[in-house]
Symmetry: C6
Subunit: 77 residues, 6 copies
């Protein structure tokens, strides 16, 4: 995995949120590098509400970081 | 999902809290894009206190971000 | 639910803590709007130590936000 | 429960840590106000390592807040 | 337990990390003061990956605090 | 374990993320120092989605710290 994170800056809060989702997924891929196994796990956790909520928590933590890195996109306000 | 997050700015803390709830839900929808499955899961986790508390935790994390983005709505104080 | 959060400012750290407890509970009520179901769940999670600790975690996250919003009540020190 | 949190300021990091432990426990007491039930639950979770770790997480979150409130006790350094 | 935390300042990030590990363990010891019980629990959770990850989460939260307290050891950079 | 963390500074966000992954793993190794046991646990949690998500959460917490330590790599933006 190379050059997947050149910057934490995004143009909009929405793109910042998408980056947070990506940041959450990369750690999973680093711990389980086998794409086949991840693919097999996906439908399981996507129907497990505990896992869905826990995933959303990881996104929330990264979104805090990305938001701070972008000065909360103040100019948008 | 497009243009759902133009800004992190809200007029009041209450609207900021509602935005935090929305931010928590969007990650779930991104991981489980099938609205029918989400609809089926909803009554299950809404009666599961562990899931309710975990959802509240995600909202808390996003509310911290939204509050910081709004300078804690200081002018309201 | 209207006008329940006019400001994050409180007079004392203690009132800030009470606000954090309220912030934790509102998310639960938004996910499970039926007060009867919440009432039924309450004695169950109030005797479940995992749930009690998880609830305390949500309060801790909100208390961090409320404390920052109040400049940590510096004048009290 | 009255006047249990006059300030977030403490003289030392150690007292700050003790305050964090107190902040973690008060939320539990607010959710389960019956001291008898809490007393009965205590030996159970104190021998459950998942619960011990989760409790330590709550303390960590509060300790972050208390440390920030005290400017990290810079003068001690 | 006395005088175990004179300061949050450490010479290096590495010592800061060790302090974070210590901060995570002290809360466990305060909730379960019996060293014999803690000793008995240790081999159990040290072979339980959920507990190992949860412990690492507590360390991460404390490391954030210790890092901030040390200005992220900027002079090392 | 010596000299594994000379600085929190990294050249790029990507290297910062890799450092966050490392920070998450070191705490596991400190709690379970036996490399053989860790090796045996690895395939188990790498196929357990709850564990994968929880690991990603720890990385997210450390990434917040590393990002702050690097001023969010502003010059990259």
């Amino acid at each position: 995995m190379k050059d997947w994170l050149p910057t934490l800056k995004t143009k909009t809060p929405e793109e910042g949120y998408e980056l947070a989702v990506k940041l959450a997924r990369v750690a999973v891929a680093m711990t389980q590098p086998d794409a086949e196994i991840r693919k097999k796990l996906r439908p399981e956790y996507a129907t497990d509400f505990d896992a869905l909520i826990a995933s959303s928590q990881v996104v929330a933590t990264h979104f805090a970081t990305v938001s701070a890195a972008n000065g909360y996109w103040q100019e948008q306000a």
